[in-house]
């Protein structure tokens, strides 16, 4: 039987990977979006784990919401990426520094 601890550790590892993906990745915006999905997945994993062990379904319902929003977010993210590629001819993150002070 898998314990709650193991699941939480798994989620934490996933989350860490996601954050690392965002921070270390300097080239591809698609990988950035994927890392974001990974963060959300880690959170979902936590929700499900707690929902299971606490015998409470609300957590699982929440996961559906998160998935839906994640899908929408991915769609919008990809759309923005497309537009950006058209305008700038590149999707390298290192070149996206218009916020520079």
């Amino acid at each position: 039987m898998i314990s709650l601890n193991e699941l939480l550790i798994l989620a934490a590892i996933l989350f860490g990977l996601g954050v690392a993906g965002i921070i270390i990745n300097r080239k591809n915006i698609i990988i950035l979006l994927m890392s974001l999905e990974l963060l959300l997945l880690a959170v979902n994993t936590n929700f499900i784990a707690f929902s299971y062990f606490l015998k409470n379904e609300i957590g699982q319902i929440f996961v559906f919401f998160v998935l839906t929003v994640a899908a929408a977010e991915a769609a919008i993210g990809l759309a923005i990426m497309m537009v950006m590629y058209r305008r700038q001819g590149s999707i390298e993150i290192e070149k996206l520094d218009t916020l520079k002070g």
Binding site: I22, R26, E94, L96, D97, G101
Partner: protein, 658 residues
């Protein structure tokens, strides 16, 4: 209404307020009512004031009315101090009022002739009327603050009148100089008043004077351990004010410059009345000054220095008005010497006679100036006695009086001062005696030099004017004659009651510690005016004067080439004299340039560097440089923000979960 039926209090108020009314009417309505109406009105007012002052003199001196203090209203309350607008009428102030209003009246009449074609006619009358008002307040004040009000009032009017022809540069420069020199004096005066208030707790004369003996031994301790008697400190500070107003060395520089003003005011303000305010003030404060031998000594030395060294300068002036201005300085020096040896009555005596003969000399000089169409340079005069007989005669009388020839007015007053100085034992008295004796020689020298250069010798008048020189109108001559009569007789008439009768004319207005009373000692040798005049013929002073006159005649009329020769031989001494001992140069270089340099220094350092550089621009620059550093954090890279976010989150987590 019969004005002699007015009671004394009302007389005082009417006498003071009439000139003020005249000033207001002439100033505001002058253009409306026209020239003639203006001068008629103002002169009528001053004549009434003069008559009232005669009545006051009559009441105070002949009827022996006791001193009278009358309060108009309370000016200010400040804590325990109450300051009233109150007037003190005693013998001293009555005499002064009479002199002030009389000379004012003479000068006002004279002004009709002198300023006849001046566009600022009404303005002039407004100013001089205001002057008389301020002077009367000064004279009659019963407390230090009201005295200061009058003091500043006459200073203001003096400034306005020196700069009366404000389109001329020397006039505005002169008025500014007078104002600034007087500021220095007034600063000391104000400090003195403040000290009086601190030590005595009141500003009212009688209350202050009655406490003087009690406080005679209190001292002030300065940081650093130096101590000074409180009375001495007060007296010295008050005398600084007198030095400014009465033009004593080294604050005398403004008086020669004040000659840029019209001649009537040179006569009224800068010879007869205002400049004697310092002398009057010290006399009024005699109960204070008597308790400070140190202050008397300082007055004596400064007065003696002014008396001789300023008189010497007059010998080298060519502007006729400046010669008389320097002689005024010298005569004020005599008065200060008299104060220094506690001969207050003699100082007032000389003040009165000086007011007459100096006003006379100025007005006579003014008459010459009118005749020559505003030419003041004596090198362009000469031989005028033939064309201006009346002016010549009056100038001659004035010169005799000024040079102290017996029995003219100046003789009695000056001789008493010189004798009192000889007897005095105040420290510095022997120096002062040398100065006043030498001053007698110098006085005669410059007076008769001016007389010879102007009225005798070959005519050097401009060819264009030569045939047209003629005597001035009667409005000019009338005051001259009136003053000339007084310059002859005033001394002989006044000496008995003022100095050698018991009690003296000024009575208890003047306080003298008996041991200081030189005039009383002189009284033992005094046997009437004629006797005094006869005795003078054997005295040193008289022969000094005669020597001065002969020297003046030799060097200016008989052998002018001698003067040229001497000038070449002693060119360095001549340079010192022409540069007036360098007071002006000193003021210009050290004070004016020094102030300017200090200002520049403060501008470049404190203003530009500290305030502009550090405070204003500095604070902006600090924000900018902080921002320049802070903007490095804003790289624009998403992953940096993320990293910082995560680190921050972790920090918070560690902080809270711990």
């Amino acid at each position: 209404m019969n004005m002699f039926s007015l009671d004394l209090t009302t007389s005082i108020y009417v006498m003071i307020l009439l000139p003020l009314l005249g000033a207001i009417v002439a100033g505001i309505l002058g253009k409306v009512i026209g020239r003639t109406a203006t001068h008629r009105l103002v002169i009528a007012f001053i004549a009434l004031s003069f008559l009232l002052s005669c009545k006051l003199v009559y009441e105070m001196i002949f009827q022996n009315h006791p001193r009278l203090v009358t309060t108009a209203y309370t000016w200010a309350h400040a804590g325990l101090v109450q300051i009233d607008v109150s007037f003190l009428l005693d013998k001293l102030s009555a005499v002064m009022c009479c002199v002030v209003t009389f000379v004012s009246l003479m000068v006002y009449i004279y002004t009709i002739g002198y300023m006849a074609d001046d566009p600022g006619y009404q303005r002039f009358f407004s100013y001089i009327s205001l002057f008389t008002f301020s002077m009367l307040v000064l004279v009659l004040a019963d407390n230090f603050l009201l005295l200061f009000f009058g003091w500043e009032g006459v200073g203001l009017v003096s400034y306005l009148l020196i700069g009366f022809w404000f389109k001329r540069e020397p006039a505005t420069f002169g008025s500014l100089k007078a104002f600034l020199a007087n500021r220095v004096g007034d600063f000391g005066f104000l400090l003195g008043i403040a000290l009086v208030l601190t030590d005595f707790g009141t500003l009212q004369y009688q209350e202050v004077f009655s406490q003087v003996p009690k406080l005679a031994h209190s001292i002030w301790i300065f940081p650093g351990g130096m101590t000074i008697s409180a009375i001495t400190l007060i007296c010295l500070l008050l005398f600084v004010g007198a030095m400014g107003k009465s033009a004593q060395v080294p604050l005398h520089v403004w008086l020669p410059e004040s000659m840029e003003g019209p001649t009537p005011i040179s006569a009224l303000i800068h010879a007869a009345t205002m400049v004697t305010a310092g002398i009057y003030m010290v006399t009024r404060m005699s109960p204070l000054f008597e308790y400070s031998p140190a202050a008397l000594s300082v007055i004596l030395v400064i007065g003696a220095t002014t008396c001789f060294f300023m008189g010497l300068l007059a010998v080298f002036q060519f502007d006729i008005k400046r010669v008389i201005a320097y002689s005024t300085l010298s005569q004020l020096g005599y008065m200060a010497v008299a104060l220094g040896v506690s001969a207050y009555d003699a100082a007032i005596f000389h003040l009165v006679t000086h007011a007459f003969f100096k006003a006379l000399l100025f007005l006579a000089a003014g008459s010459v100036i009118i005749a020559l169409h505003h030419e003041q340079d004596m090198r362009k005069m000469g031989g005028l006695a033939r064309y201006l007989p009346v002016t010549y005669l009056t100038f001659l009388i004035g010169s005799f009086a000024l040079a102290a020839i017996p029995p003219f007015a100046g003789f009695y007053s000056k001789d008493v001062i010189i004798e009192a100085t000889r007897l005095s034992t105040v420290p510095g008295a022997s120096y002062a005696y040398c100065c006043v004796q030498a001053g007698a020689f110098v006085t005669a020298l410059y007076t008769f030099r001016a007389l010879f250069l102007t009225f005798h010798t070959r005519s050097r008048v401009d060819a264009a004017l030569a045939g047209k020189v003629h005597e001035s109108p009667w409005v000019v001559l009338l005051p001259l004659l009136a003053l000339a009569v007084l310059s002859v007789v005033a001394g002989a008439i006044l000496i008995d009651p003022l100095l050698f009768s018991h009690p003296r004319l000024l009575g208890d207005s003047v306080f003298i510690i008996p041991a200081h009373d030189m005039v009383a000692q002189l009284g033992f040798h005094y046997h009437g005016t004629l006797d005094m005049a006869r005795e003078a013929l054997t005295g040193l002073t008289f022969w000094m004067v005669i020597a001065g006159i002969i020297t003046a005649w030799l060097f200016n009329a008989r052998f002018p080439q001698w003067a040229e020769m001497l000038k070449k031989k002693l060119s360095w001494a001549y340079a010192v004299m022409i540069n007036k001992y360098g007071f002006d140069a000193f003021n210009q270089v050290v004070l004016v340039e020094g102030t300017r340099e200090t200002g520049n220094l403060l501008y470049t350092i404190s203003d530009v560097k500290v305030i502009d550089g550090m405070c204003v621009n500095g604070s902006g620059e600090a924000v900018r440089s902080f921002a320049r550093f802070a903007r490095r954090m804003q790289t624009g890279y998403l992953y940096h923000y993320t990293l910082v976010m995560v680190l921050g989150l972790m920090a918070f987590l560690i902080w809270y979960v711990r």
